[in-house]
């Protein structure tokens, strides 16, 4: 055995557990605002993730316990459950998790080797395959747990009256119909709250709280969340200032859709991100900018997943351009 002979009490497991703990405030608010159905989805996703992870490890002839207990599969599972509409049928959640664990993670060689964020890859796959199901979001307080359970367990999808447009959808449709931002927000459909989607903005606040906890615990550095929020805020801010009737404010973007979850829990995935602080900032800001563009000009409910995958592709490029220079060395000694 050689030096160093001591190790800081740190482990991948501990990192992942901290991330899970940090997701709890958001989940608690989610249950409070939108009902306990999300817990069922979380359970389905977790079970699928662990089972498929174990299966893949067995097939790849890797030791089971170390990788299974590192918690990374559970983090992926929770993120997928949280970004899917909370009333999707069970098999859709399972499909998403399988795409993430089997496709995006293990086929690329397992944790550490995968270039694409597994949760985002899963989201993109299911939204392309099942666009209709993926657009059925329950209205915030309109669905009781029994109905949620019925829908999740694959019951007949009589969803009229219990789903509603998300804030992003309502905004986009309104703008396409030549309404201005203020009249859309004031339309009194119960979709909007004080900042983003009614109810959802509180869930976003829960994610923000958890994210700050991760910052304090130094699991993540500020470059990623700040970069993402800054990138999105810059685009939203410029257009909003130029044409406030046609573009919603940065605050609306921050509080709607998956912005907070993405800023603190998704772009912060270390495996599929960049390494240097500057690289991290560029990566996250790029994702924020692209997400805003897709939200504003695209057809999908939220653009974050595509934005992150696009930036995943750019990682080698960013890494190459932002290699840090060793202490005391000249710039041209960059690797």
């Amino acid at each position: 055995m050689s030096s160093p002979h001591i190790r800081r009490p740190a482990s991948v497991q501990r990192v992942m557990m901290t991330v899970l703990v940090a997701l709890l405030p958001g989940i608690v608010v989610y249950v409070w605002q939108a009902g306990a159905g999300i817990l069922v989805n979380l359970a389905i996703a977790t079970a699928t993730a662990l089972a498929s992870e174990a299966l893949m490890l067995r097939l790849r002839k890797r030791p089971l316990w170390i990788a299974l207990s590192d918690g990374s599969a559970i983090v992926t599972a929770w993120l997928i459950a949280l970004i899917l509409p909370s009333i999707v049928p069970w098999w859709l959640t399972m499909t998403g998790v399988l795409v993430a664990i089997v496709g995006a993670k293990h086929l690329y060689g397992g944790i550490g080797q995968n270039p694409f964020n597994p949760a985002m890859a899963a989201y993109c796959a299911v939204i392309v395959a099942y666009p209709a199901l993926m657009s059925q979001w329950p209205s915030i307080d309109g669905v009781d747990f029994a109905t949620q359970l019925h829908l999740i367990l694959g019951g007949s999808r009589e969803i009229d009256g219990i789903t509603g447009a998300t804030a992003l959808d309502a905004m986009r449709t309104g703008l396409r119909n030549q309404n201005d931002v203020r009249s859309i927000l004031g339309s009194g459909t119960g979709t909007f709250g004080f900042a983003g989607g009614r109810g959802w903005e509180w869930i976003a606040a829960g994610y923000l709280a958890g994210g700050l906890f991760l910052l304090v615990r130094r699991v993540i550095t500020w470059h990623l969340p700040f970069g993402f929020i800054a990138g999105m805020g810059l685009m939203a801010g410029v257009f909003w200032l130029a044409a406030p009737n046609n573009f919603p404010s940065p605050l609306f973007h921050f509080a709607s859709g998956g912005t907070m979850l993405a800023a603190f829990f998704i772009v912060t995935d270390p495996v599929t991100g960049t390494s240097s602080p500057l690289g991290k900032f560029i990566f996250a800001a790029g994702a924020g900018i692209i997400a805003w563009v897709i939200r504003t000009f695209g057809i999908y409910p939220d653009g974050i997943a595509f934005a992150v995958l696009l930036m995943n592709i750019c990682v080698p490029l960013i890494n190459h351009a932002t290699q840090p220079v060793p202490v005391g060395q000249r710039k041209d000694s960059r690797p």
Binding site: M1, S3, H5, R8, G112, P326, V327, G328, Q329, P335
Partner: protein, 518 residues
């Protein structure tokens, strides 16, 4: 005066574990039954035996003289008889052996007398020769011959009392108890190197040492005051952080100068000496005492942890036994836990670089958790004091992409171990780097051998080529000569020439016959 501190990047703060050994005064160890002084004390500087078995020696008598300009002398640690010159294991990760002079003490501890040298009046060369003859080497663990460093010409001298590795407290105790000698030695070194200012860096977790050293600087002995450079001597408390005690790190903390891994500190007008080295210089010049012992921290899984004044050549096993090493000790580390190594053999004698021995048990040093895949979390990047990207070097080493490893400055890594210390995936990063470096070196060697072979081959073809063209030139010259002769003397000359040739050459069939008879 409040000195400025320059905070370097990275570094870690492991549990210090200093209190275990720092709270009791330096203790003496009884004379062991024999002392085996190794002729090779470090990777640089060896000695040549000048005694034979049966010789009686005095304490401090030179028994091995410096070999070459880089060599350092070794001395009898006590008075007694040379009983053996044989091979003993070295305290080195390789477990190799080296020649040692074994002395059986007579128990009288009779010193040889050397004349002290007055640094204020003695010649610089004389002083430096005395340092070499006294066998002084870097005592921080590097064991670099001090006379070589004392010869440099610098502006700022750094005296290293940082002692950033956990568990080690020998410099702490030395500064608390013998501050005056450390300060005097520092002043002498400042004189030799021409330094205009001297900065003594001590980590702020050693307030007693800082106080003692500050007092010593204030009450400097008159002899020291005469040394120019001593006037601007400053004791600076530096923040506790590993690896601030690494010399380039300490230089950066104290002066702000960032020295790249591949460049010499003297190029930047600085040089760094350990406090124990300064102490040894003082003893050697002012008291005529060569290096025969050092302070060793013995700590960890022992009954009586503390600091011990140990004669060179004492077996490490004996020393540990004296300190009450506990039975559940699994291995013994020499140096600190961050950069030290597990001793392959406890029969190795104590050498000049042996600053600390840590008896390790599974409880104090739990075995590392199994290695997991790298998750690219970047923690290793954050702590690397050199600003490298350890995980990139790791991926490159793992996949044997040696060019990439080199491009990521794998040779700039000082093996401080900060990256492996924090890695949540428990990857033994430094091991990977050592492996990749040896692979690169091996490949370079091969490349060199291949290049040499090619050069040889090319040279040979060149030679053949040249011989061929020379031959052609000779033939052409000869033909020209013949033509010229023919032109000058007509056929007669040609015929005479042919006759002459036939006469001097034996007939062909004679040759054949002779061959036949054989």
């Amino acid at each position: 005066m409040k000195a400025r501190i320059f905070n370097p990047r990275g570094g870690v703060k492991p549990d210090s574990h200093k209190k275990e050994s720092s709270e009791s005064p330096i203790r003496h160890v009884p004379l062991p039954p024999r002392l085996a002084v190794l002729l090779i004390q470090g990777s640089q500087g060896s000695a040549r035996t000048i005694v034979t078995v049966g010789d009686r020696v005095l304490k401090g008598q030179c028994i091995g003289e410096a070999e070459g300009a880089d060599g350092t002398a070794i001395h009898a640690p006590t008075s007694g008889t040379v009983t053996e010159i044989g091979y003993y294991p070295m305290a080195h990760p390789s477990g190799l052996s080296s020649q040692a002079i074994v002395i059986e003490p007579d128990g009288e501890e009779r010193w040889i007398t050397y004349e002290p040298l007055d640094p204020a009046t003695a010649d610089r060369d004389e002083l430096i020769l005395r340092i070499q003859a006294s066998g002084i080497v870097g005592m921080g663990g590097a064991v670099f011959p001090s006379h070589l460093k004392a010869r440099s010409n610098i502006k700022t001298m750094i005296i290293n009392g940082a002692e950033c590795e956990p568990w080690i407290t020998c410099d702490d105790r030395l500064m608390r108890e013998r501050a005056a000698n450390v300060v005097t030695g520092s002043a002498i070194l400042a004189l030799l190197t021409g330094a205009r200012q001297t900065l003594i860096g001590i980590e702020d977790n050693k307030p007693e040492a800082i106080a003692a050293m500050r007092a010593a600087v204030r009450n400097m002995e008159p002899v020291t005051r005469k040394c120019p450079g001593a006037g601007k001597m400053n004791v600076v408390a530096v923040p506790t952080r590993y690896p601030t005690g690494e010399r380039k790190q300490l230089i950066q903390v104290l002066t702000g100068v960032k020295i790249p891994p591949n460049e010499r500190v003297t190029k930047y007008g600085t040089q760094c000496f350990n406090v124990a080295t300064a102490h040894a210089v003082c003893r050697a010049l002012l008291h005529g005492e060569p290096m025969v012992s050092r302070i060793v921290t013995v700590t960890g899984n022992v009954e009586r942890p503390g600091n011990y004044e140990v004669l060179f050549g004492m077996s490490i096993a004996d020393l540990l036994a004296f300190c009450g090493v506990k039975p559940d000790t699994t291995r013994v580390l020499m140096g600190g836990p961050m950069m030290g190594f597990a001793l392959p053999s406890l029969d190795a004698p104590v050498i000049k670089g042996c600053n600390c021995l840590i008896a390790a048990s599974n409880e104090l040093f739990p075995p590392s958790a199994p290695e997991q895949p790298c998750i690219r979390c970047g923690d290793c990047v954050d702590v690397c004091p050199t600003g490298l990207q350890p995980f990139e070097m790791y991926w490159a080493s793992r996949t044997k992409n040696l060019d990439s490893a080199r491009r990521h400055h794998i040779f700039g890594c000082m093996e401080c171990g900060c990256c492996a210390y924090v890695c949540p995936a428990h990857i033994p990063l430094v091991d990977y780097f050592r492996f990749a470096r040896s692979e690169i070196r091996a490949r370079d060697e091969e490349q060199k051998a291949a290049d040499q072979a090619r050069t040889r081959f090319e040279f040979r073809s060149l030679r053949l080529e040249r011989e061929k063209s020379e031959k052609a030139a000779r033939l052409a010259a000869k033909a020209a000569e013949t033509r010229a002769k023919a032109a000058a003397g007509g056929n007669a000359a040609l015929i005479a020439d042919a006759v002459e040739r036939a006469r001097t050459q034996p007939p062909a069939q004679d040759n054949a016959e002779q061959d036949h008879q054989k």
